[in-house]
Subunit: 146 residues, 2 copies
Amino acid sequence: MNRKEVSEIIGFSADTLRYYERVGVIPPIKRDKNGYRDYRPNDLNWIFLTKCLKDAGLSIEALIEFSKLNQKGENEPAQKAILQDQLEVLDQKMAETKRTRDLLQHKIDTFEDHTAKFKSGEMDADHVEELWKMSEFKTPDQKSSH
Amino acid sequence: MNRKEVSEIIGFSADTLRYYERVGVIPPIKRDKNGYRDYRPNDLNWIFLTKCLKDAGLSIEALIEFSKLNQKGENEPAQKAILQDQLEVLDQKMAETKRTRDLLQHKIDTFEDHTAKFKSGEMDADHVEELWKMSEFKTPDQKSSH
DNA sequence: CTAAACCCTGCACTGGACTCCATAGCAAGC
DNA sequence: GCTTGCTATGGAGTCCAGTGCAGGGTTTAG
């Protein structure tokens, strides 16, 4: 399978594919007699996993780390551990996204509620969110809060 | 409230705060007699929202757009629409993350199952995932698939 | 024989989002 | 008055993740 087909299936550009191979996100791809890359099903498989993890927010560096361990050979426990770690990362990410989502929902729900006032005064990290929920969602100077 | 306190509460660096103000992600902050920024509760409020949206994956450009709309004054429907859009984006993101998560889980669960073989042959976008689920999660050249 | 449509390489460049730097003002403590 | 510690500024530099480009090769179609 050539570069173009892979690009079309996975959705990475030819340049990105080459870049990923160069930096080690994907392993070196076999070449044909002309030196052209010949992607095999297992390559596609790996690239697909890469795409999933990238879409899930992993950095290139993390993907390289991941790929290295995989290429090291029979290192299943380590690979499994990485996957497990990634699972946890994804779970955390989802939890956080959900929190933001709920905050946003709250903001939408209470958009018209201009009666809520927040008191100035002490304010620390733990209270910012609470305060935010009560706030009027306006830029500072549209209403003086003195 | 001075720059340092805000940095500590929100978790943006002083430089980032200045950068955001410069590009318009946060509105111009009032200054004291020395020209020092004096962040007021409503500023903090806005910065907190900014942080949420940024963490949720919005680009600086999107944040500027959002901020502009907000500063334009009574433009609630437009603001609300943006929040609603973001809500949808977050929902989609979560769904996709969950999909990756489940794929990963499957991979972990079937890690030892070396009997599964995937056939080379036709392969298109719709089948990559299916194929991937059957694959052995190895780099291409550790086992020849000819 | 030539053009089109692929592919290869190294390296320079871009865009986004900060981050650092040099220089300088103010305020408090010694 | 001097040092320390905060603040300010414009502008340059950095890092990440690609993206583009010049220069070149092979195969197929006309």
